[in-house]
């Protein structure tokens, strides 16, 4: 079928004009649209639909931006607004025929235009932040929250472009930075700001064309007639918290379909009561004369972690990382990116050029201590990350003290003797947090993770013990024999195994999965994991070893 025949198959559609085979102007439900058909020579091409010459039409997925077309021979002059018919990546266009693409696009347009009020509300809420921020100028509000459920107050810091709204209790590591003596962020005291969690978001829609926000929108949230949008506790806070500035900013937070929605609005108040302290509720109900939406972005570590789909189990955990070599560098960055915002790293080694190609973020820091350098880079990543690098090797005594301050220990030094020492000490003190030992076998092909729960049988020394209780070489080894061929010897203490980076990535990925399993309770007790180029699985190596002189009985 041709595009024209497809359009004509709909009773609701009347074609107004056609240019070539690809451009159709048609009427549907009283509106005029432009259809650009998919390119037949490009099988991934999609149809495009634009609303024509209708600046006032407020409908979900009809974009707010106008595109002016002048002196064009293919389509009529005028203003076009794109109709967003597809969620990104929801369709693989290449596998759909030209005709089906057109039928589908028209069906989607009809479905869009015949949405009920409730469906439109739902769609507007899905794209809330797009509509909220669209077209807003001025200073951005960058919001940092440590929780979403309770009323709270913000401390405000500004630079030339942005204002940070930092919930009381959050410490940002860069807030006191200075550039040539000048502070990067200055605290603002001219305006107060508060966080108001919205529990029930029914009827709360973003501003859009022809429907700007007014004081009524804010009043309806905090003082709803039929639907209670906020909790009793929040309401009480609004009734009792006094505001000392004439205007104030309210930052609302509500749960969206996929992620939290956070938006800030300036409440402009009259100056009749400037000499008396008024509560937030009084100011909203009686003093507010105008509201100004503020372009809002939420950037706290928790939110950024949530929107990439991180496991919430790791959030807020404190990790002690022993070893900042090749594997340690990958592990440090990845666990931070997976939700652990507090880390302490021990390593006495210096980063050299020979390390760079198998060291995460290897382009910087040659000549610096590895632990300190990783910490520096991690702290730059986000101001809520607290990374501390200690430029020394940790000994047993220090480790015994440190485990009291952390939720997780990861050992990435790969040295069996040191790991055996640490293992024995941790067993003796009855360490009550998960400890993960990691090592790469000689040859660089296979690696292992040992999770030890010292309250249960099984420890690192079990791997070096046979059934008779005698010490043996690590029984977990998969490689059939000792590999010597890829050792690079450049002096005593400078031996380097040439194993590339794939094994590091495999081991790091498995480590992240292991964390999730520990936190979710899927791993019950000490577990040995074998990692090969083809798989990562619980080891068949006999473990724990009852005859182990460390943990056995």
């Amino acid at each position: 079928m041709t595009a024209r025949e497809i359009l004509e198959s709909y009773e609701e559609i009347s074609i107004e004009s056609q240019t070539g085979d690809d451009f159709f102007v048609f009427r549907l439900y009283g509106k005029t649209f432009l259809l650009i058909t998919p390119n037949k020579d490009d099988f991934s091409s999609r149809p495009r639909i634009y609303l024509y010459n209708d600046a006032g039409f407020d409908f979900p997925h009809v974009l707010l931006y106008d595109e002016e077309v002048k002196e064009n021979t293919l389509i009529p002059e005028g203003t076009y607004r794109s109709v967003c018919l597809y969620e990104p990546e929801s369709i693989v266009f290449s596998v759909i025929s030209y005709e089906d693409k057109l039928f589908d696009a028209i069906e989607r347009l009809i479905e869009l235009l015949t949405m009920s009020k409730a469906e439109r509300e739902k769609e507007f809420q899905k794209e809330f932040m797009y509509y909220w921020n669209c077209g807003l100028a001025g200073r951005n509000a960058i919001v940092f929250l440590c929780q979403e459920d309770n009323f709270s107050k913000f401390v405000l810091y500004s630079n030339k472009q942005d204002t940070r709204f930092v919930e009381e209790g959050i410490v940002l590591s860069d807030i006191n930075y200075r550039n040539k003596g000048e502070r990067k962020w200055s605290e603002r005291v001219d305006i107060e700001a508060y966080y108001i969690p919205v529990l029930d978001n029914r009827g709360i829609l973003p501003p859009y064309r022809g429907r700007p926000w007014t004081t009524h929108n804010v009043k309806d949230i905090v003082y709803g007639k039929q639907i209670e949008h906020i909790s009793f506790d929040t309401y009480q806070c609004l009734k009792t918290t006094q505001v000392s500035t004439r205007n104030m900013v309210l930052v609302f937070g509500m749960k969206g379909e996929q992620a939290s929605i956070t938006f800030a609005v300036m409440i402009k108040c009259n100056n009749n009561t400037r000499n008396t302290r008024r509560t937030i509720l009084e100011k909203i109900r009686e003093d507010a004369v105008a509201v100004e939406p503020i372009k809002t972005k939420r950037e706290d570590y928790t939110f950024l972690s949530n929107i990439i789909g991180n496991d919430i189990g790791l959030r807020g955990k404190r990790a002690l990382l022993i070893g900042a070599g090749s594997l340690g560098s990958y592990v440090a960055f990845e666990i931070i990116k997976n939700g652990v915002s507090n880390i302490k790293i021990y390593d006495d080694d210096i980063l050299s050029n020979e390390n760079l190609l198998r060291w995460a973020y290897g382009g910087l820091g040659v000549g610096r201590n590895k632990a300190e350098h990783i910490s520096l880079l991690l702290n730059i990543m986000h101001p809520e990350i607290k990374a501390e690098g200690i430029p020394k090797s940790i000994d047993e005594k220090e480790l015994a003290n440190e485990v009291k301050n952390f939720d997780l220990v990861i050992v990435t030094i790969g040295n069996s003797d040191t790991q055996l020492k640490f293992n024995r000490m941790l067993n003796n003190i009855g360490c009550n947090i998960p400890v993960l030992y990691t090592w790469i076998e000689a040859g660089g092909e296979f690696s292992h993770i040992l999770y030890v729960d010292y309250s249960k049988p099984g420890c690192y020394e079990c791997l070096f013990t046979n059934e008779s209780g005698e010490y043996v070489n690590n029984r977990a080894s998969i490689a059939p024999e000792i590999v010597e061929s890829n050792m690079i010897r450049n002096g005593c203490g400078g031996t380097r195994a040439a194993y590339g980076t794939a094994v590091l990535l495999r081991t790091t990925a498995t480590l992240l999965t292991t964390f999730q399993k520990i936190i979710s309770g899927e791993l019950q007790g000490s577990t040995l994991i074998d990692i090969t180029p083809n798989s990562a699985m619980n080891s068949l190596t006999p473990f724990p070893m009852e005859a182990c002189s460390c943990c056995g009985h």
Partner: protein, 339 residues
């Protein structure tokens, strides 16, 4: 289970969990006015009560959590005062005193047949009314003050507001599927009677609530509550309780009764019946149409088609999932770019 997600979403849209702060404040102010002014006004007419003698209790759907969104918020708060009804045989007078105690410019107050109503307006439109049924507590027996301000038809009707509350709370609270079904039935009623304004033309909430309680049979499956089936069966059960006379396929009369389980043990549909026989026929026909649509929704395979039938019963707030055929053709397995 068909349309489980859609019913959950629908209930989230229509439910009212509790009073809003503004409602609580309005009610508190009203209560303060009654407690402070009514004893004085009654004293002027030789009736002695103290502030602490006045008891105000929640009634209606807010009490048993079956309130749904509506254009006008409707609250019911009973006012119970100690009163000898032999000495004060005219309830209209006492209702008039109650009216006087709450009449201020911020609210419009009127005497209705079973209550005194305080209405609140914003920009010329009513957004809230609080109905205050007035009860006399005469030696432990309670009587509802009935009668419009100027009507000759008035009486102190024996009543048991606490017993009624207890009965409904016992039946509904803790039975979440029943609570939802009652809300769906009320939403259906609001949809179908949106244009009705005649006195007693609309089936009363108390009647629908009791019928729902009577006819409800819990429906659950392996993946939770099946609200579609429970709704259909409850509506079918209500329909089956009608006694109809038909001629040539046309329904001539339809009758349904539900007596209150407490004083005055009256039929909650009596006023509807007394107003016009056509009201009950209309009620029956609309209910039958709803049952047909719900039965079709249960029987069709496609969730899209089923939801379209449900929309005919509950309105467009009920989500319709996409057509499966469209979904199959165009919605390939999702892939993500590495953003």
């Amino acid at each position: 289970m068909k349309l489980k997600k859609e019913f959950e979403s629908f209930f989230r849209k229509i439910r009212i969990d509790d009073e809003t702060h503004v409602l609580k404040e309005k009610r508190d102010i009203l209560q303060d006015d009654i407690e402070s002014k009514l004893p004085e006004i009654l004293a002027d007419h030789g009736i002695t009560i103290s502030k602490s003698d006045i008891r105000m209790i929640d009634q209606g759907s807010y009490k048993y959590k079956t309130t749904i969104t509506a254009d006008v918020v409707d609250r019911d708060v009973a006012v119970i005062i100690p009163l000898d009804i032999n000495d004060n045989p005219d309830p209209r007078e006492i209702k008039g005193y109650l009216k006087d105690s709450i009449t201020i410019w911020q609210r419009s107050v009127s005497v209705k047949e079973p209550c005194v109503r305080a209405s609140y307006y914003e920009n010329g439109e009513e957004w809230l009314h609080i109905d205050l049924p007035l009860y006399a507590d005469d030696g432990g027996f309670k009587y509802l003050a009935r009668g419009k301000a100027t009507s000759d038809d008035y009486t102190w009707e024996p009543a048991d507001p606490d017993g009624l509350n207890a009965d409904l709370c016992d039946k509904i609270l803790g039975h979440d599927q029943l609570r939802r079904i009652i809300c769906y039935i009320k939403k259906w009623r609001n949809e179908k009677y949106a244009g009705s304004s005649g006195d007693h033309e609309i089936p009363p909430s108390i009647g629908l609530t009791y019928l729902a309680c009577d006819c409800f049979i819990e429906q659950t499956g392996s993946d939770g509550d099946d609200d579609l089936l429970a709704f259909q069966k409850t509506m079918q059960g209500i329909k089956d309780r009608f006694v109809c006379t038909c001629y040539d396929g046309e329904v001539l009369t339809a009758d349904i009764s539900r007596r209150l389980p407490v004083e005055p043990y009256s039929d909650v549909f009596q006023k509807m019946k007394d107003s016009s026989t056509s009201y009950m026929v209309k009620f029956y026909k609309r209910l039958s149409k709803a049952v047909d649509n719900l039965t079709n929704a249960v029987n069709v395979e496609s969730p899209h088609d089923a939801a379209e039938y449900i929309q005919k019963v509950l309105g467009t707030d009920f989500d319709v999932p996409p057509k499966e055929a469209v979904t199959a053709v165009t919605q390939s397995k999702r892939e993500h770019s590495f953003g």
